[in-house]
Symmetry: C2
Subunit: 247 residues, 2 copies
């Protein structure tokens, strides 16, 4: 049963685990995971990022990493360092165009490798980019690993909030603490200064009130975020002010 | 093995099956599935829509359906009629805020119910909104069901194209014919007439050349599409000109 009181394991070499989640894909979960990890590093914490999105790993692209992780003992993997982060992703182990055609049990064994066989070096925070949806991969994470807090990402429209709500219910069933919601792509401002609510307006704010969960902040549509992700140069690494000042 | 030559089954009561797919979530797959089904109905075909996105069914919301499907024999389900479409979704069977916490085998048996126990009434086309990702649910569909053609949806940026490419590879491995690519959210035009390439420019066009797959059309960011989806009033049902004229 989902809420079983199985013992949840910590991950060796990691003090605190923050999971970035969204039940719906394409709302900016990976973008926020990468930029949040960079923001925490800029506050002088030792930070790692684990891309657990087995079916669509985007962290290698967003960090511009194409090396393969090394292993000294043939069993444990050494994270790759980039922009001062320790990074690990299933995407490092396969070619970019390989479709991960996996059945449930294979997904679970891949997740176990990530959480028990990676040599994280004394991290203050490990940011985990969780898989979207509420299937096998996500269920395994929330039941097996000691997540200290989950951040739920949503865009403002009804369709995305329905999914975010499902994700929140799942965390509640598997006893994972929810730190709060971040509303992403909340509006787009064109050159003439007009604000366009392409994906709706203040949806996450309404949800935060309904479910009594903190709204950690809202992030507008910012073309620099997308360009940075495509180029492998995270936005937060190359700008001076802090996007996360409201987090 | 993924490419096994298992016999693929047709679906009773259906002449042709068009699958709408995207390996990455949030690119507009469900929005296009609904509006394409409506467009085909407007061309006087008999059309059904099957929402196979087990973890995040959005068709009930997009069509404004809250009834539950009926069954006369306790085994077969009768589709719900709305806007002249025969509709079926896992979302009809559960509350909107239920998280589908499913392991692989349960996903597979749910898909089997949909493909063998629904009384489709003499359809010309069944449009299937496939699950995102390349996991259990998608694999089961492409291996078990006789899909006549798949349409791949992508937004123009690198990150989305990487995923779309993985999805295409998976179809090729499971011998599913690809009808073409649709690029969605290709640009946003503000009131001052300026076109903003928020999610990048002509990515899918490049991909269509590289992979020698037809580009069926491009769809701009249109706030009416999102508003229609949130209100349960599909855009294509309520406008006069044809968005699909280029499909
Ligand atoms: N606030 C934003 N402004 C502009 N583009 C964004 C923003 N957030 C995300 N994106 C872009 O949207 C796309 C989807 O984001 P991604 O992080 O891949 O979502 P997810 O991980 O939820 O699937 C990416 O191309 C990303 O660069
Ligand atoms: N061309 C478009 N213009 C404006 N909004 C769009 C467009 N295509 C999709 N959307 C909106 O984007 C969100 C994601 O679309 P959806 O169909 O749910 O994607 P997917 O099925 O790929 O997850 C929805 O809120 C939808 O209304």
């Amino acid at each position: 049963s989902p809420g079983s009181k199985k013992l949840k394991l910590p991950i060796n070499g990691v003090k605190k685990i923050i999971a970035i989640s969204s039940a719906k894909g394409g709302v900016g979960k990976s973008t926020i995971a990468v930029n949040l990890a960079i923001a925490l590093k800029k506050l002088n914490y030792k930070v790692g990022i684990l891309d657990a999105d087995i079916y669509g790993p985007s962290i290698p692209q967003m960090l511009g990493v194409s090396d393969k992780p090394k292993s000294e003992d043939g069993k444990n993997l050494i994270p790759i360092s980039k922009y001062g982060l320790q990074c690990m992703s299933i995407g490092f182990m396969v070619n970019q165009d390989t479709a991960m055609i996996w059945r449930g049990p294979m997904v679970i064994s891949a997740i176990k490798t990530f959480t028990t066989n990676v040599f994280w070096d004394n991290l203050d925070y490990l940011v985990i980019d969780l898989p979207p949806g509420t299937g096998d991969a996500l269920l395994t994470f929330s039941q097996e690993i000691q997540i200290d807090g989950a951040v739920v990402i949503s865009t403002p429209q009804e369709i995305a909030l329905l999914d975010a709500n499902r994700g929140i219910k799942m965390f509640q069933k598997t006893n994972v603490k929810i730190l709060g919601i971040i509303e992403n792509m909340s509006s787009f401002t064109s050159d003439d200064g007009k604000e366009h609510f392409i994906f709706g307006e203040s949806g996450a704010q309404k949800m935060s009130k309904n479910l009594n969960i903190d709204l950690l902040g809202t992030i507008p549509i910012e073309i620099g975020l997308r360009e940075g992700a495509d180029k492998g140069e995270p936005y937060m690494e190359f700008i001076n002010d802090s996007l996360t000042s409201n987090k």
